[in-house]
Symmetry: C2
Subunit: 568 residues, 2 copies
């Protein structure tokens, strides 16, 4: 704000001139006192200049008894996970009232490093929402990962004073953190005194104390009340997560209500929520509704969705409440039970007209991130003995089992058959030629192969199939188109969802992406994948060496519990 | 914190080595959840490294069921107002459990500008407490004041990144603020997004909205529940004040309890509290006790004294709670009703051994701040007509009345007599020779004069007497000794309290200062000052042109309500 802007706002606040717009006749949710007060709210130049019936506006919006509350904040999410552009995700979520996003672009950083982060910053510069970035702290996720970039403290330094960079993104490498290993310590100390997002499922006791000591300020991985209270007692702010996969809200909120604890250390986040779920049930508004249904007073639920989050991230001078000087991010609600959203305003303007437009140039290097040599047939050969390590997938879960069994073979090489498929992960960032091959039990794709460039967190090319030819074709196709998901059936490309932006996202529009995904998923099930298995999600997580038990990387099979590579 | 320090703390947090000290067997007040939990607290290098019974210490402190709570924060005070050095005030107050101070050195700044602020920073660098400075925003208090220094945004700029400077000090000039006048706007914008202390007694409606719009984040002047809730609803954080003069706590806390409102927007402050009052009833611990007596749950009262304040000032990553990574500022309390303090620790070390030592060199320019020409007898002459403006003082109050009446006179000049005394204010910073003279009714000092270099906010020399000779002697004596209070009786110096540091403070030790003040006050009453009048306080506020109704400045009588100078 400069002097002239300040003076313009001050004139309106004093009432010397009419405000540009007055919201009149509403019931205003006051997140400071926890009250609902019938009063008017005056807005000029996107800023709330006054609260009170004495204000008059050049324009007046009649609320007729509707509720007016501050825009919601999502305390933690990854924009890349929806496969559409950041702007398109926001187009959907902002209509649900989420006007502020605390994003951790660690998928983009794993592929393109600083360029990936710059993409997220640039893509979100013009959206009708406030997007703040937390610096990805664990890129790569583990030191031996073959990802696209090592994003270290030296690279972070230039972002530290960026007006939309608030702190350090989710600190997943808790071992390095509690041991104060130099590379991690350097990142933590770089953001000393600033918010640092946690990611510490099940961490407890002295390791948890050491994690908090390191300066991690919040956690969004709590699944049980016990975990919540142990962390909250140590001063951690708790982001109650309700996304597409992880749904922790009910247990936690019921515990807050039962224990009659203050809500001021709690926020809501989605972490990862798919567009179709946002369309179906909402975004942070869904969290608010669910919390109310769990017995939390509506105003307390709204405080968790607004001022508590703003305060945790040091944004409370501009966001999270309805008061003079705050940004006019406002929601008109029909009532405080269903929290049905009638209108959303960002900086005083309705968001309903916003349509995300593709911005990334066609010749951007971010559209050419699949760099690997053609895979030779012999690279997929998997020599096996009498007893092999096999990844057993479990319906409805991302964790796998490390199974030991005899595999079908010919001439000492694995031959996929029955419930046994072949899986391979091909390094795709630096064309190193690394290919890891293993066996999977329970996926059951027959007569083809499915491949993906979305493969957390390093996003190499993952492929599962029952014959090498289809697997090679699937990989080659993703090489040709720069990434995405593709399904090959009987030697032909059956379905493809191109994700040309870093191999993670598409700017073809959600509806096209979603239609292609649905068709592909239907056919994988038709080809034998059991109903309880989510084929694309499972494929995208098979390479993530931080989820138990057995994973596959470009360097081979990795046992997460033993933290070591194992022979097939 | 550097890497080596972090690693040392992390080892202790993990339990790989014993902590230096473990507080065991206590009931720990958890300000995050509002619980009281029996557990141990481990401390290394002044930092809490872990909470839990599994920690062992090289030293162990047995608490035997006593309560352990975080050190208290005073959200707003002026260190200069006690007449002793900042370190000596802290020596007293830290024993009462106040381990953090948010100070506004505006008295020092009015006399010596940046040098005065540097003095406060240097004097508090070695105390066993955390002292943060808010930049004085209104020096001088009004544009026409004859103070020692204009402390503007340009001078503030170099303090902005000082690790102990948090934001802007109390914004008293609300007119300049709500009108966004350039000089004030520049200061406000310099601290954009950072805490800015308010001072807005009775401000309401649109002017209050404009004041909040300007970015003022808190207020400590609320005297009634109505005022509290109007401000709190606009997002202001409320500092509930309980000092020596202003005592607003009971009304406000009873209202919080009655309305069942969340406490997270409330803190405690003393603003101005004399050493003798601190010794008698305590400091922030007294606020906590009083709040509990008013019906607030003890843990809520402690939250107001700790984490809420830390959070408002962005200090909550280090202060205000008992959690890993936080500074070991800890209080041992006998119980949660009387809040009797058994021991106080700052950075893990007991504070009880601290004794403030004079630090300012004898030849410091800060000891030579009374710069005025000798006052000539004719400068005290007060020509009067048939009807004059007279300052009427009111027992028990700082406000005065603007009285119009006939004054006793000889040859057209005022002659003090009966209830009418003469008052003069002599500019003392730049030897401009300005002397304002007026008449006071109701002070009734007979047979002498009393003078002071403590005269808010500009701290010129104020003198009241019933004869010019004694008034001149009193002023001359303060010139000779560099400031303080002095009482002249019948042509002789009767009592003097030298305040050589900026004419505001003494480093002779509180007991000596207090003994001298008491003797002086007793004699002023013996010389006729009515019991309800606090002679030194009244003298020190007679020149403050922001308290109604009539004041005296070096430029003459000033009517505060009309905001203009008036003829005597």
């Amino acid at each position: 704000m400069n002097l002239e802007q300040f003076q313009t706002l001050a004139r309106a606040a004093r009432g010397d001139v009419p405000a540009q717009c007055v919201f009149r006749g509403g019931r205003v949710v006051n997140v400071f006192t926890g009250e609902v007060i019938e009063t008017a709210v005056a807005v000029t130049d996107g800023t709330i200049v006054g609260v009170g019936d004495q204000y008059v506006g050049e324009t007046e919006i009649a609320l007729d008894g509707a509720y007016l509350c501050p825009g919601f904040l999502d305390a933690h999410l990854h924009l890349e996970s929806t496969m559409v552009t950041p702007a398109e995700l926001i187009e959907q979520a902002v209509r649900c009232g989420t006007t502020t996003y605390l994003v951790d672009p660690h998928e983009a950083a794993n592929v393109c490093g600083a360029d990936g982060i710059d993409y997220i910053l640039e893509e979100t510069a013009g959206v009708p929402a406030n997007v703040y970035v937390m610096m990805p702290s664990c890129v790569p996720a583990l030191p031996f990962e073959d990802n696209g970039c090592t994003f270290d403290a030296a690279q972070m330094r230039r972002y530290r004073n960026h007006p939309r960079v608030l702190g350090l993104g989710e600190v997943m490498d808790y071992t390095a953190t509690i041991n104060a290993e130099p590379a991690m310590a350097e990142k933590l100390l770089l953001f000393d005194g600033r918010p640092k997002d946690g990611h510490a499922p099940m961490l407890t006791g002295r390791p948890l104390n050491a994690y908090v000591l390191a300066g991690v300020t919040n956690d969004h991985e709590c699944a049980s009340p016990e975990e919540v209270w142990e962390k909250r007692r140590l001063g951690m702010h708790i982001h109650v997560r309700e996304g597409s996969a992880a749904r922790n809200l009910e247990d936690i909120v019921r515990s807050i209500v039962r224990e009659k604890r203050p809500t001021d250390g709690f926020s809501f986040c989605t972490d990862d929520k798919h567009i179709e779920d946002i369309r179906r049930e909402g975004h942070i508004d869904h969290c608010v509704r669910r919390a109310i249904a769990c017995g939390l007073a509506p105003v307390e639920a709204i405080r968790m969705a607004t001022i508590h989050t703003a305060r945790h991230y040091g944004l409370h001078h501009r966001l999270g409440g309805i008061a003079p000087g705050m940004q006019a991010d406002l929601l008109v609600l029909d009532d405080l039970e269903t929290v049905r959203i009638r209108a959303v305003y960002h900086r005083g303007a309705p968001v309903s007209g916003f349509r995300a437009q593709p911005k990334l140039p066609q010749d951007s290097p971010l559209r050419r991130t699949v760099h690997c040599q053609p895979v030779r047939p012999e690279q997929l050969a998997l020599p096996v003995g009498a007893c092999s390590s096999v990844i057993r997938v479990i319906p409805g879960q991302l964790v796998t089992q490390h199974m030991r069994c005899a595999l079908p073979q010919r001439d000492g090489l694995f031959v996929p058959q029955g419930e046994f498929s072949k899986v391979a992960v091909i390094e795709r960032h630096r064309a190193t030629g690394k290919v890891g091959v293993g066996a999977v039990a329970g996926f059951c794709l027959h007569g083809g192969a499915i491949a993906s460039s979305v493969a957390h967190d390093s996003h190499n090319l993952s492929v599962i199939g029952d014959n090498d030819a289809d697997m090679l074709l699937a990989v080659q196709h993703l090489r040709d188109i720069g990434g995405g998901y593709t399904l090959v059936s009987g030697g032909k490309i059956a379905h493809t969802v191109p994700l040309p932006i870093m191999g993670l996202m598409s700017d073809a529009g959600f509806d096209r992406v979603q239609a292609a995904l649905s068709a592909m998923i239907a056919q994988t099930h038709a080809m034998g994948v059991p109903d309880g298995i989510s084929p694309l999600t499972l494929l995208s997580f098979l390479a993530l060496p931080v989820i138990p038990s057995l994973r596959i990387t470009p360097r081979g099979l990795f046992d997460v519990e033993q933290m070591r590579f194992v022979a097939p």
